[in-house]
């Protein structure tokens, strides 16, 4: 019957109960959507960087990444790539010859990294072809075609079919200068692809390097559900002379960012929970103070303090149990809708893209997040009810009975 009283009590002041339930609904919705949005934000950035730039795993000569000296190539690199492609965990693998240099147009020069790529396998591994915003993916220009990022194209003021000159060290200490013609311009949320890399055919680059057909980097894309670390360990075991690293080691800023985002989410969670707790304390305290005489009567006729405490807490639990499923449903529906349609932030695209973010975000949420948020809100609601319930049991029946 105490449960019945608690249940009926919450409908005594419908407006007030609706406010509490509304804040629980909004709290859960905000947490779910906020978390989903942040996940989408983070995930799209990381997916762009991993899929188009870093890949899941990279292999180098251990000395190469120290200062990108092209004499540190991967011994038998091409042979190794072919073998790796046959590994069941590997979805795609591509090889690159890499040299740092300078790109010049008739107007301006810029420091860049020249990436001599295997045109077909690069497309499979990094979908570089999908990033082409102008021109074609190595089609239409036969001699020395080059693909450059949008930012470089804007800086150099070059267009499709414009001539650019690459200057770099040929490996013998001599500078070599070669003319290329822009075949495509890529646009990506990756800052490096937009403004630091230029892509040429591997064989065009080899012609200008002293050490011949040597590659400096192998990029591996793993099948989903495969732990990168296990393949890294496997490669390093088989080919001890090279160094395989996962994206976490190659781009530690991504892992750091991922960590930072989860902390931001926790802070968001705490802020929303605190706001909710204060709302509940306020409302339930009003409910208790309003019923002082009734509570005094209950204690006078023999209802013990534990039962009074329990009754007030149960009222809040009921409010949470009504609010939580609605909040969950609304949150789930919102995320599901935007998961398909995407949150359009094109109004802010310039700013977002300058930081490497996509302007359309697809929120998503793991199933356990729904459980964590719900438990968090219900626990907060119960904690919020403790003070009003404590106030209720502290009432003096004689004084309470004489309250008007």
């Amino acid at each position: 019957m105490i449960l019945k009283i608690a249940w009926k009590n919450i409908w005594r002041s419908r407006g007030r109960s609706m406010v509490v339930m509304g804040s629980i609904v909004v709290g859960i919705w905000a947490l779910l959507f906020g978390t989903g949005f942040m996940n989408g934000f983070m995930e799209s950035y990381m997916a762009d960087v991993i899929n188009h730039d870093v890949s899941n795993i990279q292999i180098h000569n251990p000395e190469f990444t120290k200062d990108y000296d092209i004499k540190y190539f991967i011994p038998d690199g091409e042979k190794k790539v072919k073998e790796i492609r046959n590994w069941p965990e590997v979805k795609a693998a591509t090889s690159r010859a890499i040299v740092n240099g300078m790109i010049s147009s008739s107007r301006k020069s810029a420091g860049i990294q020249i990436r001599g790529i295997d045109v077909e396998n690069e497309a499979k591994a990094t979908q570089l072809d999908s990033l082409i915003s102008e021109g074609e993916y190595f089609i239409g220009i036969k001699r020395n075609p080059i693909i450059i990022g949008k930012k470089i194209a804007d800086e150099l003021k070059v267009k499709i079919r414009s001539k650019v000159v690459l200057t770099f060290n040929d490996g013998n200490g001599d500078l070599t200068t070669t003319a290329f013609r822009v075949v495509g311009i890529v646009k990506s949320s990756s800052v490096k692809i937009n403004g630091h890399y230029v892509f040429v055919r591997k064989e065009d680059l080899f012609k200008n390097l002293a050490n011949g057909n040597q590659i400096h980097e192998i990029a591996i894309v793993t099948n989903s559900q495969v732990e990168e670390e296990s393949i890294v360990a496997k490669y390093n075991e088989v080919y001890k002379e090279d160094k395989a690293e996962s994206w976490r080691e190659i781009a530690p800023e991504l892992a750091l960012m991922q960590e930072m985002y989860s902390r931001v989410l926790y802070i968001l969670l705490v802020i929303i929970m605190l706001a909710l707790a204060f709302g509940i304390v306020n409302t339930m305290l009003m409910a208790v103070l309003e019923r002082m005489r009734e509570l005094g009567m209950l204690m006078a006729i023999g209802m013990n303090k534990l039962r009074v405490f329990f009754m007030v807490v149960v009222e809040t639990i009921f409010l949470s149990l009504i609010g939580a499923p609605i909040g969950l449903l609304v949150g789930w529906l919102t995320i599901r809708y935007y998961q398909n349609v995407g949150v359009d932030l094109t109004n802010y695209s310039e700013g977002l893209e300058s930081f490497g973010y996509s302007s359309i975000l697809y929120p998503y949420l793991e199933a356990d997040a729904y459980i964590i948020v719900t438990v968090g809100v219900v626990v907060t609601a119960i904690i919020g009810a403790l003070y009003p319930a404590w106030k209720a049991v502290k009432l003096n029946p004689v004084e309470a009975l004489h309250k008007v």
Binding site: M1, K4, K8, R293
Partner: protein
Amino acid sequence: MSIIKVENITKIYNETKIPVHALNGVSFEIEEGEFTAIVGPSGCGKTTLLNVMGGLDHPTAGRVEISNTDITEMKDKDLIDFRLNNIGFVFQAYNLIPVLTALENVEFIMLLQKVAKKERVERSMSLLKEMGIADKADQRPSELSGGQQQRVAVARALASKPNFILADEPTANLDSVSTSNLLDMMAKMNKEENETFIFSTHDQRVIDKARRVITLEDGKILSDVSV
């Protein structure tokens, strides 16, 4: 046999600031089956005396013994259980639980006593019947008149099978017809079931029905007359 012994009760409010002497050495005994009115002008200490007798308030000095148990030294927690099983309360403002029906209001106190559901319902219905409001069993307090609500409150007080019932100005909010009906009901319960009723009142109709009248003035017993 005396079921209540009030011995030299003194109650002082605001002891440290401006002391107010609500009760000054009040002593009397109540026998089982009495129908007693404690009367006196406003502020004479009637309600304070009832609160002390009912274990709702602690006296500054003196002792209250109920069925040979001294309740003045009892802890609050024990007093709650003691009240539940030994004392029935009827308040001036009825104080029913607004979200429960009349039947549930009567049943509630037995629920606190952990009485089985079947017995609770049977006893509640029987009490409502005796109070002449069995047809109102499924109605909420807001759907009942003041007199009907107070009858539900009396039924609730009797439901726990207390040693006695303390009624603080039970007719203060009732019209004359309702007052008369309520008093008849309580007098009947007193006569037929030997229930002990102690009222605080300044309602002459209650005083006329009482078989013993204790008159208080300035916290002291002015007279104690059995009719």
